[in-house]
């Protein structure tokens, strides 16, 4: 570790790189396969990693275009992938804005505002947060089924209901932001108070600007979480044009209608932007994640 003989070091280096490369080949295998499959003909053909007769059929179908094969037959897109993508993005944005608004205000409240029962309330929130709300699906289904009798927009198969459900993930982020605000020097609020700022003004003009990086992290986390959700969306969304990507993509690999090639192209088109967002935000995300988890 401190002083090593050059020959030993070389062997170790080769071993380390060799392991890494082998491991990466195994890890990357699914990605390479999917790219290859998306260019293959048909939905059942097997073949080599480089397709023999590459075709853009699956890609055309995935972006919603009819595709004319060489023999003149026209194939229609099986599912509205772009619509699903829009639904996912829309739901993700609505969920993220809502959660961000509520958790920022509450995080500030728990960090700076003194009120009776504050510590007890925080502990209660912390315990509740660990309960998986996916287990409340039965109740959520019934609640929204009933609300649907009052107003269709609040019932099953409505995006508004789903967004309301996503807001239930707010507690974890209240905690994260509380931890973040705790780290801000109290001299700042004192200075603001001396200048005559109300708590609201302190929040709006001092804390909010300081919290922007953390808020960005939470925004991305909630956004990606909503896009990745399957259980809620599969229970609350029914019709094909309301579905999100996560629910819709499942239809491709149905036992009776197996569209492997079409799925591969659709997965790449929808997965790439989300992956890009994640990789860009990744550095901040992981620090936010471990901070929020340990600070508790």
């Amino acid at each position: 570790m401190i002083v090593e003989r050059p020959r030993d070091l070389l062997i170790k280096k080769i071993a380390a790189h060799g392991f890494m490369i082998l491991f990466l080949i195994v890890i990357m295998f699914p990605f390479m396969m999917v790219v290859s499959i998306s260019f293959r003909e048909g939905n059942f053909t097997t073949g080599t990693l480089l397709p023999e007769n590459p075709t853009l059929e699956h890609w055309a179908l995935a972006v919603g275009l009819d595709f004319t094969r060489a023999d003149g037959t026209v194939v229609k897109p099986p599912y509205p992938v772009l619509l699903w993508m829009w639904n996912s993005v829309k739901l993700g944005l609505m969920a993220a804005f809502g959660v961000l608004t509520i958790s920022t205000i509450s995080g500030y409240a728990f960090s700076r505002i003194r009120f009776t029962g504050r510590v007890a309330l925080l502990d209660v929130l912390f315990i509740i947060q660990m309960f998986p709300t996916t287990l409340a699906l039965v109740a959520l289904y019934r609640i929204f089924d009933n609300l649907g009798d009052v107003n269709k927009g609040l019932g099953i198969d409505s995006h508004i209901s789903l967004v309301l459900v996503y807001w239930s993930g707010v507690i974890l982020h209240i905690w994260t932001l509380k931890g973040y605000f705790d780290g801000i020097d109290t001299a700042l609020d004192k200075a603001a108070a001396i200048d005559g700022a109300t708590p609201w003004q302190t929040f709006r003009f001092v804390f909010l600007p300081l919290a922007v990086p953390m808020m960005a992290v939470i925004f991305v986390l909630v956004f990606i979480g909503a896009i990745n959700d399957y259980p809620y969306a599969s229970v609350l969304l029914r019709s094909e044009d309301k579905m999100t990507l996560a629910v819709g993509s499942r239809l491709y690999l149905n036992e009776f209608k197996y569209l492997w090639g079409d799925f591969a192209a659709a997965a790449l088109i929808s997965g790439l932007p989300i992956t890009a967002v994640f990789l860009i935000a990744q550095k901040y995300l992981t620090s936010g994640l471990s901070d929020g988890a340990v600070k508790g």
Binding site: M33, S106, I128, M130, V138, S168
Partner: protein, 510 residues
């Protein structure tokens, strides 16, 4: 931590505009609560009423200035987390299922809406076009209806004495309108109700039941008295025959009794519980082990191309989970999956990943490790930075090899801060429904069970399938099992809580 600013409520008077907005919003909420109450959603109504009252008080008076910051969070948590949790537990004590779906009032409505055709009043009809609309012509009595659209929504029209219409649709064209005809109710001038009784006839429909009081109905045909049974959630005849549709009633501990004492549920549930624990534990151990190994290699100062390796290694974490899981579903497919093609080429075997229970479980663990190791790796890389170099150097000087110094120095130092994260990871995998639902749906099924139970089902996905499966929708039973899972999760959560407090104390202590 202390704040001078928060102690002084704002002394200003509330502006009129703010009061007006608060008043309007409160009234809207009150109205919503009233509508919900009328629709017999009393619990939700009361909850909204309480929140609306809280909203009005907190935002309407300056005294509660501080509450304004706390209210949004508390309201959200109450409405969207606490209320559904409590409601799930309540459902666990009811017979809510596909057979007992409605409230009693709705059940009665459904029973009353059914009727039998009175053969004596059956008579032919014709359809007369009237612009875009239609009129119904009953030749036997010489009555013609008001114009109607004949859409598939419920429609009513009055009949009046009239002359024979000049144009009538052919029977064939009239039949094409049958979806509109079936939802049509006609009223004769005497007030008799006529409904479509067949392809060619209208007739008056006599309701099957007559309401005696809230809990009793009389079957018109034979005079049988039906009594609402509040233990079973059905109207029953004197002979004990249950008349669907049933309604929701509380049934006490019956669902829990079924879970604990009915062999067809208890045995599969026990094996599902064991698999859930094995799955969660194995997932944590595998992802942690692999992630830590990779992190240690990436920390090695002599390794080049670190940023490249790092970005490639976290790719499985960056790709949306549902896509990767479905990709694996395709790759593992027994007949056209690429994994089996390679295995057959190299080893000459073609495993049934989806039909053999143990292979399916292995597949789940492989996929979950693939999905989960980058998170552990990223965390481990962070914690490894905190291990003092001096300790490792000292160990090397004492002659300890890299493996010895890893287990003697590095691991003991990073394990305590890691513990809460490992417990959360365990809790997450304990309820990792997305993976199970998208990859195997819990299949292959365990033979000989009353409710659908799969050998790869974890408790959460088992509950999901009971509630929203293709064959059964036993919401009550699912609620009861959810409550049992809550209890287990509570234990895990408490352990995590203690672990985090300890980690915190250790940190602040040093």
């Amino acid at each position: 931590m202390t704040s001078a600013a928060a102690k002084q409520p704002a002394p200003r008077k509330l502006p009129i505009l703010q009061l007006a907005i608060v008043a309007v919003l409160t009234l809207v909420a009150f109205y919503a609560a009233l509508v919900l109450y009328m629709l017999s959603q009393a619990v939700i109504a009361v909850l909204i009423l309480a929140l609306a009252a809280g909203f009005a008080v907190i935002y309407g008076f300056n005294r509660f200035y501080n509450g304004r910051f706390i209210f949004p969070g508390i309201a959200t948590v109450t409405l969207f987390v606490l209320f559904p949790l409590g409601y799930t537990i309540f459902i666990g004590f009811t017979n809510y299922s596909s057979f007992n779906l409605l409230t009693q009032a709705r059940s009665v409505e459904v029973l009353m809406s059914g009727g039998s055709v009175d053969p004596a009043t059956e008579q032919p009809f014709s359809v007369a076009p009237d612009g875009d609309l239609y009129r119904i012509w009953l030749p036997n009595v010489g009555l013609l209806s008001d114009p109607i659209a004949l859409s598939s929504d419920e429609e009513t029209a009055n009949l009046a004495v009239a002359d024979n219409p000049t144009t009538l649709l052919e029977t064939r064209d009239a039949i094409k309108l049958r979806s509109g005809l079936q939802t049509l109710t006609l009223f004769t001038p005497d007030g008799v109700e006529l409904r479509n009784a067949g392809l060619r006839t209208f007739a008056s429909v006599v309701p099957d039941y007559r309401i005696i009081d809230n809990d009793h109905l009389e079957r018109v045909a034979d005079g049988t008295i039906l009594t609402a049974d509040h233990n079973k959630g059905f109207f029953v005849t004197e002979a004990g025959e249950e008349v669907p549709p049933g309604f929701v009633v509380t049934i006490g501990w019956d669902n829990f009794r079924r879970v604990l004492f009915s062999d067809g549920i208890r045995q599969p549930m026990f094996s599902i519980f064991i698999w859930t624990v094995v799955f969660a534990t194995a997932s944590v151990v595998l992802t942690f082990g692999l992630g830590l190994l990779l992190a240690v290699i990436l920390q090695w100062p002599h390794l080049r191309f670190k940023p490249l390796y790092r970005i490639l290694l976290i790719l499985p974490y960056a790709v949306p989970g549902f896509i990767s899981i479905l990709v694996f579903r395709g790759l593992f497919n027994q007949n056209f999956g690429e994994i089996n093609l390679i295995l057959e080429y190299v080893l000459g075997v073609r495993p049934n990943w989806f039909t053999n229970a143990n292979l399916a479980r292995t597949m789940l663990l492989i996929v979950n490790t693939w999905l989960g190791y980058p998170y552990m790796m990223l965390l481990a890389m962070g914690f490894l930075q905190g291990v003092p170099r001096d300790h490792l150097k000292a160990a090397a000087l004492e002659g300890a090899g890299p493996i010895r110094s890893f287990f003697a120095i590095t691991l003991p130092q990073i394990l305590p801060p890691f513990t809460p994260l490992l417990i959360s990871s365990f809790a997450f995998n304990f309820n990792n429904m997305v993976l199970i639902l998208l990859l195997t749906r819990g299949l292959p099924d365990i033979p000989g069970t009353i409710v659908p139970a799969g050998s790869t089902d974890i408790l959460a996905s088992f509950t999901y399938r009971i509630a929203f499966g293709f064959s059964s929708t036993e919401f009550g039973l699912a609620g009861a099992i959810s409550l049992l899972i809550f209890v287990m999760v509570a234990v895990i959560s408490y352990a995590n809580f203690v672990a985090i407090r300890r980690a915190e104390n250790r940190r602040s202590g040093k």
